[in-house]
Amino acid sequence: MDFPIFHIDFFGNRMLIAGIAILHVLINHAFAVGAIPLVTAMEWWGWRSGERRWDDLARRYLWVCFIITTTVGALTGVGIWFSTSLVNPYAIGSLIRVFFWAWFTEWVVFVTEVCLILAYFLLWKRWDGEHKLRHIRLGVVLSVTSWLTMAIIVGILGYMMNPGAWLVEHRLIAGFFNPIYFPQLAFRTPMAMVMAGALALFLNLFFTAGDRELRHRATRFVAVWMLVWLPLFCAGAVWYRLVIPRFMAEHFSVALGTMQFQNLYSTILWLTGLAFAAIVLVALWGGLRPTSLPRWAWVLPMVIVIALTAQFERAREFIRKPYVLGGYVYANGIRVSDYPLLMKEGLLANSAFVSEQEVTADNRLQAGKDVFMVACTRCHTLNGINSVPAKLEAMYGQDNPWSPEAVDQYLASMFAARPFMPPFPGTVTERQALAEYLVGLQTRRDVAAGAQTDGVASAQR
């Protein structure tokens, strides 16, 4: 709450995190956690069979993974820190206080992982012949290390949805082993393995172009890999679905379709099921009849995987609303337990970086805008995605002047009508000022500039 208000008004603040984080998940699941075991398995297969070609192919997969993970992969991970710090510093600041040692441990494991992947890649050719088995063992250790980084971060992700016993006990262990933890891990581990398979299928198109026979056998290898993990992926998904808090699960229709298309929920679910089935079919086909697999079948699973991952992460983040930390901090960055004070004494009076401390007769519009910036802009914009004026227009139309009383009434009961919205965090007067400000936007366009361009406006007090 008491931070200069960073704000992006076209794409919206959520998109900043979403773009960086989804890219990071795609890379760390498909190119690291899933890919390293697959590469090691193929390297081992090459050693076992004595066929050099498998070793070469595995090394080429690893080359792609090395380039991508050490650049885009690593930096989007840092990017999640940067973007969450900008968009919801109260939430990430709180998470760090709770989970500091979990993240510190994760860091130690990351350093290990980076050293190991540097060694695994750079020493591939040198650790050959009599040292090949040592190199394979290095791959195994790296696989476990990679998986460990996921096993730690999932504890924190699960906490955000359901802190479980932490709300009472306030201890890291209670927060880490929350009700979501094992189901989510059981879901993500096989998911990463399947994603790596989809990636490897795609890479086969390029890396086996000159060797038909290898292409078919490599396709079969990858397909078998995927078929081993796909049932576990299903089981993990079901388990995870079962532990999602019920009131959050009710948001799925809006999560997947947005409010505009929320009644297409069952259609979307069918399409998701079909997409998943398509991956299973390609894997079966590639396993049983790789010679007849058409070109598009090497590309399709990867495209589907990207789409499904983006959809899953969007759903996971959305259904958690109105909270960013379940039961503890609302998505607007305001603590649940601060609400009584704010509703009694005012949001503006208790915010450091606003230009008006209280609503008066002269400053209603500016105060209303200040309230909007503090209470709404973590998720909403004025002129872009999820814009509030656009929502008002959808609700009330443009034919009549919008009524401040109606908007105020809506703001007052919004969290009952839209359960993923936090309650209004201020006094009745502040709410009314906000309503007047929003109504003014029917005819007058305003600009919501963040602190990154316009600085902060601490009032003259």
Binding site: M1, D2, F3, P4, F6, I20, I67, T70, T71, V72, V78, G79, W81, F82, S83, S85, P89, G93, I96, R97, F100, F104, W107, F110, V111, L118, L122, L172, E250, V254, M259, Q262, N263, D338, P340, L341, M343, K344, A349, A352, A394, M395, Y396, Q409, Y410, A412, S413, M414, A416, A417, R418, V428, G450, A451, Q452, T453, G455, V456, A457, S458
Partner: protein
């Protein structure tokens, strides 16, 4: 109580402050060492390649130096996570505020580092492939180096601004934070240190048995090491200028006598290191490099002392503000606690006791449904007409609304208990009798 003082996160620190402070200094030193090797490596690779246009053995040397960037850059990034995490913990409000105020540049660090890394891979691993296209190849190197030169400015502007809460309301974006004292003097000091540290690193690197000195033709191993020693020497000598410049331009609120004493000790040891480097540059071929480890020992001490001084600057700069912030936070939390039994009834029922169906209608439904005209959804008169004498029908629709009117926004499902929905439905049907 000054209301412009922000409030801190009201959760306790996860470890004793002293432990966190030691961790941040140590982990930051590890990070900045590899950052220096990465930045210095990039600058030296390009410089050597430029020299190499006339003298091919320097081109070969440049290629060997460039290979070190691959490893050093990845260690630089991963080692940066710990100091970032601890800064977030120890200086939460300060760091995040500075981030927000320089937000555009701050988030651009991510794509810029990705670009720098991909370009350095392209530069290093296309060396032979682009041997006939030196112009293009050099351009890749320059581009990568340019990013490595620009990115530290963003970090420096941030960690400087975070120590300066008194000027936060004067900052308008990254550029205004960049010209605050004393970002640019720090940048000079940092760049010079990058070159010096990389020079010494390469003295070691070129001395390893695995280093293919035989590929360098006329350039003997000893000559290479002497060249790198000279680079380190010149850079460290330049610090005798940039160091004091940095000290003099420190904003006054960050300076203390204790820190001055500490920095002076560090500077004295740095002069000793300079003398040791001079001896090494003068040493005969067969003895060169023998003095490396004592030199590294002295410099490690210098760096640890300087990092300690830096930490003292941090504490001096934000200490008073942080005390105010702690007091303000405590006072705020006391008020939060006292207000816990305050309950606001949304919509303001004015104290009358309404029948439950009507009360809930007003609370949940009235923001979208008015009596006889469209507000957001259809008016009650239409609803009553659609469900004559049929409260169950209204309940079913409210639980799982379909979409009859495409020019209206979709109604969100209302998941209230059955008896509540029933009471609301009956109230609705009472509102427009006889239709």
């Amino acid at each position: 109580m000054d209301p412009t003082i922000p409030k801190d996160i009201p959760l306790g620190l996860p470890a004793p402050v002293l432990l966190l402070e030691i961790l941040v200094v140590v982990s930051f030193l590890m990070h900045i060492l590899f950052v220096a090797l990465m930045v210095g490596g990039s600058l030296l690779t390009v410089t050597l390649e430029l020299i190499g246009r006339k003298r091919p053995e320097y081109d070969r040397l440049a290629h060997l130096v460039g290979a070190t960037i691959t490893v050093n850059k990845s260690l630089a990034v991963v080692l940066g996570v710990a100091p970032l995490l601890i800064l977030n913990t120890l200086y939460t409000v300060y760091f995040y505020s500075a981030n927000a105020l320089t937000g555009t540049a701050w988030i651009l660090v991510i794509p810029m580092v990705i670009a720098a890394f991909l370009l350095s891979y392209a530069h290093e691993y296309s060396w032979d492939f682009l041997a006939e296209h030196k112009g293009l190849h050099l351009a890749l190197g320059f581009a990568s180096a340019a990013f490595f030169l620009a990115i530290p400015l963003i970090f420096l502007a941030n960690v400087n601004l975070m120590l300066y809460p008194e000027v936060w309301d004067q900052v308008r974006g990254f550029l205004s934070a960049l010209i605050l004292p004393n970002v640019l003097p720090r940048y000079l000091h940092f760049l010079t240190a990058c070159v010096a540290l990389t020079g010494l690193f390469l003295v070691w690197y070129a001395g390893r048995s695995g280093f293919p000195a035989e590929e360098l033709g006329e350039l003997s191993r000893a000559r290479v090491r002497r060249v790198f020693y000279s680079v380190a020497l010149v850079a460290t000598a330049a610090q005798l200028l940039f160091g004091p410049f940095l000290y003099i331009t420190l904003p006054a609120h960050a300076v203390s006598w204790g820190m001055t004493l500490v920095i002076t000790c560090g500077a004295a040891l740095a002069v000793l290191a300079l003398w040791l480097m001079w001896k090494e540059v003068q040493a005969p071929d067969e003895a060169i490099g023998r003095g490396l480890w004592p030199l590294v020992g002295v410099l490690t001490l210098v760096v640890v002392i300087m990092a300690t001084g830096r930490h003292m600057i941090r504490e001096t700069a934000v200490g008073p503000h942080r005390d105010l912030m702690a007091a303000h936070t405590a006072e705020y939390m006391a008020r939060v606690h006292a207000a816990q039994d305050y309950v606001l009834i949304p919509g303001g029922l004015g104290g009358e006791a309404l029948p439950p169906g009507e009360a809930m209608f007003r609370k949940v439904c009235s923001s979208c449904h008015a009596k006889d005209q469209r507000l957001v959804g259809p008016p009650l008169t239409e609803i009553v007409a659609a469900y004559p004498g049929d409260p169950s029908g209204i309940v079913a629709w409210a639980r799982a609304p379909g979409r009859k009117r495409m020019d209206y926004p979709a109604m969100p499902p209302q998941n209230l208990p059955e008896q509540d929905l029933r009471a609301i439905a009956e109230y609705i049907l009472e509102q427009a009798p006889g239709t």
